[in-house]
Each structure stands twice: as structure tokens, then as C-alpha cells.
Amino acid sequence: MKLSITAAGAVLPPGSTTHAALESGTQTVSIDGLDESGMVRCVYPDGFVKHHQAETVENLATKVTGQLRGRYGLAEVVFTAVPKALEAGEAFTVEA
């Protein structure tokens, strides 16, 4: 059987997103391990899961910051704690 995929989408500039709600106060973005392709599985405060291609905590912090800004609309992201390593159980904490 010959198969074909037809898909369409859009790329919009940064800041185009309708933000998801995020409660104020201390929030945690936890590392839930690595997936089979080596990407870091992160669980955001509302349970949202996103994998990030990162090799260092610093690199991951950049991507988590982008996600907190883009998805939740945080204007300023200041981490009060960061993971010691890219390992399951480690977490970022941030004041929302």
C-alpha cells in the first residue's frame, strides 16, 4: 500500500502564544529522566511534559526559561534552585 502524509502548520514569532495559567508562588520544573533519544524529559508545574535536547544544566536552563516565558508568560525568570545534574529527580525552582 502506498502511503502519503499531508500535514500543515505555522511558525509564528516569539510572543504569539496565549499563555497557560500558572499559579503564583514557588513553582517546580522537574527532570523526569531521559527518553530513548537522549532528550531530557521535563515536567512543568501544570503537568505539561516537554523534552529538551540539552547536554548541560546551563543549556537546559536556557530552554526551560524559554518555555516558562513562552508557555506561561513569565516576564522574568529567576531560578531559586537548579539541578545539580541532568538526572531524574533533580529540579529547577522558580518564583512565579
Binding site: 500500500m1 502506498k2 502511503l3 502519503s4 502524509i5 499531508t6 500535514a7 500543515a8 502548520g9 505555522a10 511558525v11 509564528l12 514569532p13 516569539p14 510572543g15 504569539s16 502564544t17 499563555h19 497557560a20 527518553d35 530513548e36 533519544s37 537522549g38 532528550m39 511534559v49 516537554k50 523534552h51 529538551h52 535536547q53 530552554k63 524559554g66 518555555q67 516565558r69 513562552g70 508557555r71
Partner: protein
Amino acid sequence: MALDLKVAVTAKNAGLDAKYTTAIGSNGLLRIYSGTKPTNPDTALSGNTVLAELALSATFAAGASSGVLTASSITADSSADNTGTATFFSLLTSGGTRKVDGTVGTSGCDLNLNTTSIVSGAQVSVSSLTITSGN
């Protein structure tokens, strides 16, 4: 006599459901990459960068109908992780195993976007995705 294989619609539907919905499993992913597209999903990535990751619905698609499988809603990536030129995408299991690879472009590709230039922080959405079984 020339080759002329034809498949019943019910078989096409069953094939689509098994090949895609079952193979991807629950809470699958759609990732958009830069770099050279691997030969097939069984070939490891090589130096590719993940530009964006979108979440598929808990169940990838309702049952195929008339030989067409239509993906349920796909959650946009509200902040792309990296800047680059999108060249291909994959449908993956929730654990990150690639099951389908397809090309990305602005026309004539498997996934057509308004631009293949993705910048870090951009919103990337896929509004429709269908898989059609021919013959």
C-alpha cells in the same frame, strides 16, 4: 498480466490504525528537526537538532475511515527550543522512539509550514495531519 494489487478499504483502515495509532501509542510526540533527514525511522539521528516538539493527543487518531487516518488535535510548541531550518519531522512514541519520518518544507512536502525558518522562542503549530493509504 501487469501488477495490479488492490486492497479493501477495511484492510486499509486496519493497516493505518496498526501502523500509526498503535505504533505511536499514547501521548506521542511530533518533533521538527534541522539537518539531514535519516534514511528511515530505524536509522539513528546524526547531528540533528530538535527545533520544536509538539504533543500529539493522548490517542494519536480516531479510527481510520475510507483509507484515511486523521490525527487528533496537536498541541503547539509555544516556545521552540532552537533556531534553525526545519528539514524533517518525526512522529514518536512518548518515550522518544521515532516511528515515522517525513519531510518539512513550505510546499510539496509531507509537512508544509509557512516558513522553515524557526527561531528559538517561536510558536510552532501543526493544524492538520492526515495519512492516506493508496491502492
